[in-house]
Point group: C2
Chain length 341, copies 2
């Protein structure tokens, strides 16, 4: 089936005229080898086109060199894709593979799916994007089994097993942009209540208003957990207010596109009659007109840093102290215009 017999460390050792253990040491970057031997062995490795057999190493070390990424499997989950892409880059660099696991529903299904994964493939660590990073049962299970994990954007950012980006000041900047355009009546639609993102983005909204001495009008704020049609109702209510907002910030781009629809039904032209600011830079916005101003979250980078932290600090027990939290970026496109009074 597969190719002819592959060379092993024995062949390398023979050609380089050293012991197999020396070869093994060089393969594993053990510093206790003479430079001359390193040179000889590296030459032999190239000459023989030697490739290490990872399964033999796995058998011996009881490590799988596999990182598991869990994610909720719903249509259009671009976030998970980006996390995975980033994790794969980091794993490539560090010699690990990524195993992914789409989760269809929470509860029973989640736990049995994870158990199955552990029993079959024995991942060396887990990456948990939101909202799975909040699941206590899951966290306890991994903890009990002593399997390290890194959480992405969890609600509680105390701890050293997480990466996130500063969404508070990112949102603050987005609202500042609206304020700089002259807006003072700024609506806020949040359907991420319960996620860290929902809390952070609301906090950023409040900070931006406060620093500009704008009093928050509670009737301009809609906060909900995810639910079908909720954004549509919220947007309709806001825009039908006697003194409606002239700009709306929403916690994610998918809802921004619903606001576009409601605005069009109410004959409000974006950005002339209404400014809209989203968050995420979701691929769906590519098809919105006018192009949506939004905040790009560095999700790929979060996946990359999560995998790197997991492997280096928690699996290979390196002494990693500095944690990199990538930055958000305000993308100004055409959905926000100056206030026309």
């Amino acid at each position: 089936m597969k190719e002819a017999k592959n060379n092993t460390i024995h062949d390398v050792a023979r050609v380089a005229k050293v012991s197999i253990k020396t070869v093994s040491r060089i393969l594993n970057n053990d510093p206790r080898v003479r430079e001359a031997n390193v040179v000889k062995v590296k030459k032999a490795i190239i000459e023989l086109n030697y490739k290490m057999d990872f399964n033999a190493r796995r058998l011996r070390t009881k490590q799988s060199y596999l990182i598991a990424v869990l994610y909720f499997d719903y249509r259009g989950n671009f976030y998970a894709n980006m996390v995975i892409g980033g994790a794969i880059s980091a794993c490539d660099e560090l010699g690990y593979d990524v195993l992914i696991r789409p989760i269809k529903y929470s509860g029973e299904n989640l736990m049995s799916s994870v158990m199955h994964m552990i029993e079959r493939s024995n991942p060396d660590g887990f990456i948990l994007p939101p909202p799975l990073c909040e699941n206590q049962l899951l966290l306890e299970l991994l903890n009990k089994k002593n399997i390290p994990l890194v959480r992405i954007s969890p609600c509680d950012i105390n701890g050293n097993d997480l990466v996130y980006c500063d969404e508070v000041s990112a949102t603050q900047k987005a609202i500042q942009h609206l304020i700089s355009l002259g807006h003072t009546e700024i609506g806020f639609i949040n359907y991420l209540v319960g996620h860290a993102a929902g809390n952070w983005r609301y906090e950023g909204y409040k900070k931006a208003l406060a620093e500009a001495d704008i009093k928050e009008r509670p009737e301009l704020v809609e906060q909900h957990e995810y639910q079908a049609n909720i954004v549509e109702h919220a947007a309709r209510r806001l825009l039908k207010l006697p003194n409606p907002p002239t700009a709306i910030f929403t916690t994610n781009d998918a809802s921004a596109s619903i606001i576009y629809r409601v605005a069009s039904q109410l004959n409000k032209k974006i950005p002339y009659d209404l400014s809209v600011m989203g968050f995420d830079d979701d691929p769906v916005v590519e098809y919105l007109w006018p192009p949506l101003s939004t905040v790009r979250q560095p999700v790929t980078e979060l996946g990359y840093e999560a995998a790197k932290l997991l492997i280096r600090k928690f699996i290979q027990k390196e002494d990693v102290t500095e944690i990199v939290n990538p930055k958000c970026e305000l993308l100004i496109r055409n959905s926000c215009g100056p206030l026309i009074s």
Copy 2:
């Protein structure tokens, strides 16, 4: 780190009072064992909570029990996600794991990425969704290395290493729907030239027109390879024709959303002044208004069948003859209305 010592086949053999080879045979469904022993061993396995060590098996058999899924990594590639989801379901059932590999560009990057994957993880087989299923270099490489593969929706459907669905008749039905609404001037915008999907969908369009005795107007047909803004230009040209189409079919939903935009700019109301029919049931359409009529492609099922075929027929060499090709489904929503003359 990990739990206490796990039980091995030796423990199972001891408890069941048979040899380890008998346990191994039962684990591998070898028929040459006495029923009484099967019962004893299965009992011991449960009693000891025995889990097979897959790495030991991998080392011994030179199989990785890994299936590789390659895909192009562009924003909003929902197709790849669905293929992967389906492949994971099938692999779960059959005891394999899925390794995924996003490809950023074709050419050099693709080949080195695949080589790297083979050297590191040695997948037992590959699943190639379009357009990677057309890449001759890749096909040759896998062929030369004797690694089995299954292609999804390739241009040439002669062969037994592929799955696809009948997009010709699916498109035909979609166009029939438009015709049944009274439309005869039906535009066709294709930006999948070079993909099997592009050819098939055009064929379905022509068949539907022919069977309704509608003469194809070449100026209503736009065929292009993927290129930015091409759909916008195409839609604008069609809709500005002296005798413009009253309905447009487009080969994918993302372009449908661009047609929505152009229509709105030209003050054509969907579905009153223009009917639009898409293809794919892409998540982006959820945010289109009015809801887009389109054709759902059973992509998850294609991924599932591809993995199943790959493993059973080409890896485990079972005698699989019947190949399941899942069906497309016409989703009638609100973007197509009757012809108002």
